[in-house]
Subunit: 331 residues, 2 copies
DNA sequence: TTGTAGGCGTTATCAC
DNA sequence: GTGATAACGCCTACAA
């Protein structure tokens, strides 16, 4: 089986190479009859455009790069993986492929951008885990590299397109659910202030309680993420002598799992809601807020496709997606 | 900043383009003095080879493809993700990049091979989740596409290189641990026979008990994977009127988590060991067998590098890696 | 609407 | 040991 090039197709269809190229890239410019003939030849021969050759001419590779992170504490790491899967799917549909890279920190990641860009002519990047003072976005903006972030640019101006999940809406929904099932003293176990995501999750809880006239800052506690620290924090809240909470909204499934254990140890009946709908939540029947990760990934690809779709540079677009509450046994 | 090509470097170093190419690809053929001069020029200009151009000439892209699967039941899905991370790292070290693709089934995956191969000139594939009667390997062998599998070719002859983890050794270690802590009636909660992995995990348990003169087939039960089914299976075992087991080895963390719950519900003290050391195991303090995934990934890259390293086609290599037992509270 | 001519950056071949 | 030349497959002018 010889290599099938545009020339093979041209010969088979009795046209020039250029016409074949036109059929592929700008079909509207070719007469219908010719177009059909060429298409048949393409199908018969099983011709596929050679990306490398196309890339040489156009400077575009059809490749999108995204960083795969080590599964941090593991329990919440699966979020990125689900996003990755969605991204690969959506990208394939739009005619792109996903390339992976790793990096230990922001600086190393920037070095990798440089590498990837000059060696592979990457079309775009998808950044995850954005944070305050993120040096990656400014680096990319400065060189005019197309990119989208999954996660808003915390503290920085909205100069690029991004997709994010409305974390506050998630904890708000959780809190409302608890209110609707009769709870009146609803606590919150969250992270130390300063992380955009963590603050938003706390806000959703606080805002909802305030709207119900039930706000009480004493019901909120902050700690580093983890099962043990979640247990300790919940224990402190539940052991209060005066009117302890009967339900807890948690900033992560790890914290929620700890809270669940603390309640059990104290022999207390306490409703608990986690965040991220991880495998752990599914396994232990924990009610949890679920991020629409496949959807978020698809939107990232949409925005990227828009960015890469030649034509005028349009305004950066921001998308805030709503999470959903997965009801299980704990709330 | 102009595009830096091999010609720019050649001009700067005062040599021809070909000499620069030689310095990059076959340095030993260039005189040391010249080589140094060229290397300096490369560094000064920040030159990088253009993969697309190289690929056009050599037909090799420096890309390895691997399939990313949906996080199946989720609880065990993280295994693939950890492998993926290791693969990306190891590949980068060896000068390769990892490209992702998805596929709903084997047939679709084979179609994707065809696509990827003809459009992107992929250098090789890494297959995971091998199974009995896997059509993918024969397809690849037939066309001479280099590949390595993570998972042995169940039932098929060893015609290609693979890396796998010795599942039986994992459950054997778990069983030995339980024996050494005084348990004598050790049960097994596994999957229905027929899956290579599941059968191997059962074998390790059975073999170890037999060696201790304690074999008892009645202590083994099989069920589909999942927390609930694990709970049911463990419950059946533990509720036996005559000498029920005091410890359980499980084929997965999901099953183990179920077993843990069943024991608690029955008010029974029962040691439990899971398999795969997932986030859930870490979260609930479950002792579990851990696969050396980063190592496995690195070995896959080693084998691939060997395969791609020009020269004579050498014998396929098979690597069986030993898992380790992560001790936590449950055993 | 279709065809022809060049060139993208690299490496293989073959002189020098 | 080094340099000139051609070719990989495609796309973008421009000419017909």
């Amino acid at each position: 089986m010889e290599k099938v090039t545009i020339a093979t197709v041209a010969r088979r269809a009795g046209v020039s190479r250029q016409t074949v190229s036109n059929v592929i890239n700008t079909p509207e410019v070719v007469r219908e009859e010719t177009r059909e003939r060429v298409r048949e030849a393409i199908a018969e021969l099983g011709y596929r455009v050679n990306q490398a050759a196309r890339q040489m001419r156009t400077g575009r590779s059809g490749l999108i790069a995204v960083r795969i992170e080590p599964a941090r504490d593991g329990i919440n790491g699966s979020v990125l993986d689900r996003f990755l899967h969605g991204l690969t799917d959506a990208a394939a549909l739009a005619g792109y492929r996903v390339m992976l890279y790793t990096a230990a920190d922001d600086a190393e990641e920037i070095t990798t951008y440089d590498d990837l860009l000059s060696a592979y002519d990457l079309d775009a990047f998808v950044l995850t885990s954005t944070h305050h003072g993120d040096p990656r976005t400014s680096w990319l903006v400065q060189r005019g590299v197309p990119f989208v972030t999954f996660g808003r640019p915390w503290g920085a101006p909205d100069t690029h397109s991004w997709v994010d999940v409305d974390n506050a809406a998630g904890t708000a929904a959780a809190t409302e659910r608890l209110l609707s099932t009769g709870h009146r003293r609803i606590g919150f176990v969250g992270w130390p202030p300063g992380s955009g995501v963590g603050d938003a999750r706390r806000d959703g809880w606080a805002r909802t309680l305030a709207a119900a006239g039930l706000e009480d800052d004493d019901l909120s506690t902050a700690t580093v993420d983890g099962v043990d620290s979640g247990a300790a924090a919940a224990q402190a809240l539940l052991a209060r002598p005066d009117r302890p909470p009967t339900a807890l909204v948690c900033a992560s499934d790890s914290l929620a799992l700890g809270a669940l254990g603390a309640a059990r140890d104290l022999g207390r009946d306490c409703a608990v809601v986690g965040f991220d709908d991880t495998a752990v939540a599914r396994a232990v029947g924990l009610t949890s807020v679920s991020q629409p990760l496949a959807d978020a990934a698809a939107r990232c690809v949409d925005l990227l496709a828009e960015l890469l779709d030649d034509h005028a540079p349009r305004m950066p677009t921001q998308l805030l997606l709503l999470p959903s509450l997965v009801l299980r046994q704990t709330a």
